[in-house]
């Protein structure tokens, strides 16, 4: 039986986040019209780290919001029970802003579709970009691709990507690939 396999650990993750920040600076310069939206529940930790890193690199302030997609999902009433929502905190209007949507794992793309639907409640963005720490290749249900990627991985439907953040109480950051029957 296959054990869980480490995809990224703390030091490597630090390097990856730094690289993602540099790529963002290439595109967004001083972030004058750019806002960050972290996707609940686990994308917000990555979003906060990227925001902190960018702010210390550039000595600027970047608006950040948390977006919850529960009420916008397309699988309501197709599950046995409704999903519990997390808080949405978007303390600004995204009208005419460039939005960087951040999540930890990109899999089927359905959450991202829901997130694009959800963000429209806060205005019409000029442009939306997607940043994912882990891109599970060849597993998309929808025509959605990320603009910035931490790590591409090939996965099977029977596998799961597990992200552990220090902010959630883990000893250190880890990203694992796990076979579902081992869970």
């Amino acid at each position: 039986m296959e054990q869980k396999r480490l995809i990224l650990d703390s030091p490597l993750l630090e390097i990856t986040i730094s690289r993602l920040c540099q790529q963002l600076i290439e595109q967004h310069h001083m972030f004058e019209d750019t806002v960050i939206l972290g996707m609940q529940p686990r994308g917000i930790f990555l979003a906060e780290r990227i925001k902190t890193k960018l702010e210390s690199l550039l000595a600027i302030h970047i608006p950040i919001g948390y977006l919850d997609t529960t009420f916008y999902r397309d699988d309501f009433r197709r599950r046995n029970a409704p999903l519990k929502a997390n808080a949405t905190k978007v303390p600004f209007i995204i009208e005419d802003k460039k939005v960087i949507l951040i999540d930890d794992v990109l899999y089927t793309g359905r959450s991202v579709r829901a997130a694009m639907d959800a963000m429209i409640a806060f205005g019409r963005p000029r442009k939306v970009e997607l940043l994912a720490l882990v891109n599970r290749k060849y597993s998309r249900d929808l025509p959605i691709e990320p603009d910035y990627v931490g790590r591409h991985v090939n996965t099977l439907a029977s596998q799961r990507v597990l992200v552990e953040w220090k902010e959630q109480g883990a000893a250190s950051d880890h990203i694992w690939l796990i076979n579902k029957q081992d869970l």
């Binding site: 529960t70 009420f71 009433r77 197709r78 599950r79 409704p82 519990k84 929502a85 806060f122």
Partner: protein
């Protein structure tokens, strides 16, 4: 993933404290939604809801309808005053006809206690009780307890006095159940004739002096005198009721503490509450109305999600 223990909301009596807490936590997220620039989410876009009101209502009906529309449900309204009920159709026939038009959820208000329970036994939609006679009015009790939680941080350990026409009030009974399940201390107060005979058996304190009740409580939930349900005279006159049980600013000022005033509406100004109390900073009546929409969105969302599609397919 969490869900309610029932696929209907018939009364507070059938809910667990965990159910109530889940509804409150879900209502928190919907309260944020209804304060956004765009106050609408698409969750219930493939759900059709019938609001069936056999009794008059302004607030509850509006509140349910707004909650349904903010969840993007399709809504049909029915009220008995302009329907075939007048022509002698039975409750079950009326509702079955509406269901034959493919309705997923039914919100019902009826003058007979148990009408929603009767429907839940006979039809396959999710049923929400919006008031059945003098029995229960669960969403009102949920929004009342939610408003107390919002104002005071929690419901547990709070002293709540329910004052007025307890005998004819479905709000009183649902409130007693909800508050007790959440760990509050409950007192009822009113003229002896308007207190049900065995009310103390529910584990509530009984008080006949409104000043003592106010002195005891942290929150006073003041109920309307329901003249339309009173077949006989329970007190000599409204003027006398206002004199002995009406709450005015002078009475509140005479207490050595500040209490919160609630009212489920509609208010009979000058009878159970004077205007200088209803519109004062003591009152959270308008917060109750706002919270009503969030609570009803939470209930609709949680119940719609638990409706068992597989069961419907197998049938």
């Amino acid at each position: 993933m969490q869900q309610l223990s029932s696929r209907h909301l018939l009364g507070i009596k059938g809910l667990t404290p965990e159910d109530i807490e889940l509804i409150f936590e879900t209502a928190d997220t919907f309260k944020e939604v209804i304060n956004r620039p765009i106050r609408k989410v698409p969750s219930l876009r493939d759900v059709t809801i019938a609001n069936i009101f056999f009794e008059n209502s302004t607030r509850t009906k509006l509140s349910f309808e707004l909650a349904e529309k903010r969840l993007s449900a399709d809504v049909v309204n029915f009220s008995s005053s302009n329907s075939s009920v007048k022509k002698g159709e039975t409750l079950l026939d009326t509702v079955n006809n509406i269901l034959a038009m493919k309705v997923d959820m039914v919100v019902i208000r009826h003058s007979s206690p148990g009408a929603p329970h009767f429907l839940a036994r006979h039809i396959n939609a999710n049923i929400i009780n919006a008031g059945d006679g003098t029995h229960e009015h669960p969403t009102q009790a949920l929004l009342d307890a939610y408003s107390i939680r919002e104002k005071h941080g929690s419901v547990a350990g709070k002293k709540v006095a329910i004052i007025g026409d307890i005998l004819h009030s479905r709000v009183a009974l649902s409130n007693i159940f909800a508050l007790q399940k959440l760990g509050a201390d409950v007192m009822v107060c009113g003229p002896n004739t308007l207190l049900p005979k065995y009310i103390a058996h529910l584990g509530v304190k009984v008080e006949l002096d409104v000043k003592k009740a106010l002195q005891w409580c942290d929150v006073a939930n003041v109920l309307r005198i329901q003249l339309e349900r009173q077949q006989i005279k329970y007190f000599p006159s409204l003027r006398e009721y206002a004199l002995y049980f009406g709450i005015n600013k002078r009475l509140l000022d005479s207490l050595d503490k500040k209490i919160t005033i609630m009212h489920p509406g509609p208010i009979n100004r000058g009878v159970e509450l004077s205007s200088d109390v209803a519109d004062s900073e003591h009152s959270i009546i308008m917060n109750q109305v706002e919270n009503g929409v969030a609570i009803r969105m939470a209930v609709l969302y949680l119940l719609a999600g638990t409706s068992n599609e597989k069961k419907q397919v197998n049938k």
